[in-house]
């Protein structure tokens, strides 16, 4: 079966209408933040694409005066990250604050003993969460999340760390789509160009660590998650069998990260089962 030249790989077109998507997401932020009775937001700005896009959306939604970016470098972070984060702050005219978390992380290790690189990465992500939630309480502002759909589905994030937030505008956009939105919003080219990284240790990149490219994994995820095709069909569409299996395994194994803790049902009306209210209950 021949395929027309214009057809995207695997028959998966990841293109979004960035202008309308931006309008929906800014309306979402305005609506969900104002209904909590707070009109302000704090966001952790890493210098990467996702948090930059989130900050741009927030500035549009609430006005730059209602947004505070918290820049939280660690001494292992790339200096380029801080520079890029500052660039976003300057471009948007939002308030910002720099909190070096090296001392917090050192303190943790001093008290509990040294931890390996992966655990240290989690500790760093959770130190940042502590800072964000503290600033949220201080400023009466909501913590806005910056996890995209790719990382949420793969579980490539720290539970109660970077995955912690009150609202998240980009959690239903794949990384490839966040990039399209970034272009539309005018995110600085330096941020658009660089390779995605959790920046937890020098020269770390998501794609090296995960072992695949976002363009490809986003297409596989679209097939498996959005279109609900079988693994076999995904392979028939031209994707590597090992990649498809691996993606499927990551999604299944990280399900716990996308749910509240499991509560044992021992009463007539239990949280998570038959106590059914939306998050926006009476707001």
């Amino acid at each position: 079966m021949s395929r027309p030249a214009s057809e995207p790989p695997g028959g998966v077109d990841l293109a979004i209408d960035a202008a309308w998507t931006a309008r929906i997401l800014t309306a979402f932020l305005r609506d969900e933040i104002s209904r909590t009775g707070l009109g302000r937001a704090v966001v952790g700005l890493s210098g990467g694409l996702d948090s930059a896009v989130t900050a741009y959306l927030l500035a549009r939604a609430l006005g730059p005066g209602a947004v505070r970016a918290i820049l939280m470098p660690h001494r292992a972070s790339s200096p380029g990250s801080l520079r890029d984060a500052r660039r976003v702050v300057a471009a948007l005219g939002i308030a910002s604050e720099e909190v070096d978390i090296s001392g917090m992380v050192d303190g943790f290790e001093r008290v509990t003993g040294e931890v390996d690189r992966l655990r240290l990465g989690n500790v760093m992500a959770r130190c940042r969460m502590i800072v964000l939630y503290d600033r949220s309480a201080r400023d009466r502002a909501l913590v806005v999340g910056t996890s995209n759909k790719t990382e949420l589905l793969l579980g490539y994030g720290t539970l109660y760390g970077d995955m912690a937030s009150a609202v998240n505008p980009i959690g239903d956009l794949y990384k490839t789509q966040v990039r399209q939105l970034a272009r539309h919003l005018g995110v600085p080219a330096a941020i658009l160009r660089k390779r995605p990284s959790a920046d937890l240790w020098p020269d770390q990149t998501d794609e090296d660590e995960l072992g695949f490219h976002y363009e490809e994994v986003d297409r596989v995820l679209t097939l498996l998650v959005d279109r609900r095709v079988s693994l076999r069909t995904a392979v028939r569409r031209g994707f590597d069998r090992r990649l498809v299996r691996r993606v499927d395994g990551l999604v299944v194994r990280s399900q716990f990260k996308r749910r509240l803790p499991v509560v044992a049902k021992v009463s007539t009306r239990s949280i998570g089962w038959d106590f059914r209210y939306p998050r926006d209950w009476r707001s």
Partner: protein
Amino acid sequence: MKTVRVALAQTAPKLGDVDANLATHLEAIARARREHAGVVVFPELSLTGYLLRDQVPDVALAVGAASLRKLAAACRDVDAVVGFVEEAPGHRYHNALAYLARGRVRHVHRKVYLPTYGMFDEGRDFAPGERLRAFDAPFGRAGLLVCEDAWHPTSAWLLAQEGAEVVIVASSGPSRGARPRQGVTSIRVWQELLRVTARFQTAWVVYVNRVGFEDGLNFGGGSMVLDPFGRTAAELGPVDTGWTVAELDGEVLRRARTAYPLLRDENLELVRRELDRVRRVRYDLPDDEPDDRR
């Protein structure tokens, strides 16, 4: 039908807050009167919001409830279609629409098709309606549908068979993102569906969909009016609340039904015969089984 001006109130109901929504409705009814509209149409569950779940019994209203009486009282010289949770006898809760006219509740439609798949869970919270009936509105024959009802072609067809000249569809339809060349995807889908509905039934179609967010669910808006030829007579955009008044010209309906006498030519007896046969096969009924099987 008489020519009638219809106001489309594309609102963002406040979830679970009947009093706040009641106030919005009264303002919109007053505006409709000022703008010489004959009818103002609100979205599905306009008095309560959509994602109610366990709040359904908390916001439910009997047809005689004070809130509805208050709204009806405001509808002495302008009609309104409002969405609410009806608490019917036996404490059955329905996703319902009321047609208010001349100070009274003139007609109630209970949503027949409750979507319970994908992101929807309405069958869990509501009882399905069991009637699809047209009724006499002050301007002519009308029929009401709620969202998913319109996805079953028999719904508008039955209403038109009973004489409906205007089919009013109230909706809380979510959007599913925006794609290149399509914009907000849900709007195009509804446009296609309703255009076909208007053409097949040679009827005016009024569609009012809500906007706003509930738990991140974005309601798509895109309310519209299609004439009996399927042409767009009025439309509102996505995302934002909106308001427009469209004139539904009785003369256009006459022209469409003269040019395309589809309703005249419908063979009800044939449909009934074939439907009976399909029923007998589907439910394995004997040939002489009477028609009142439940």
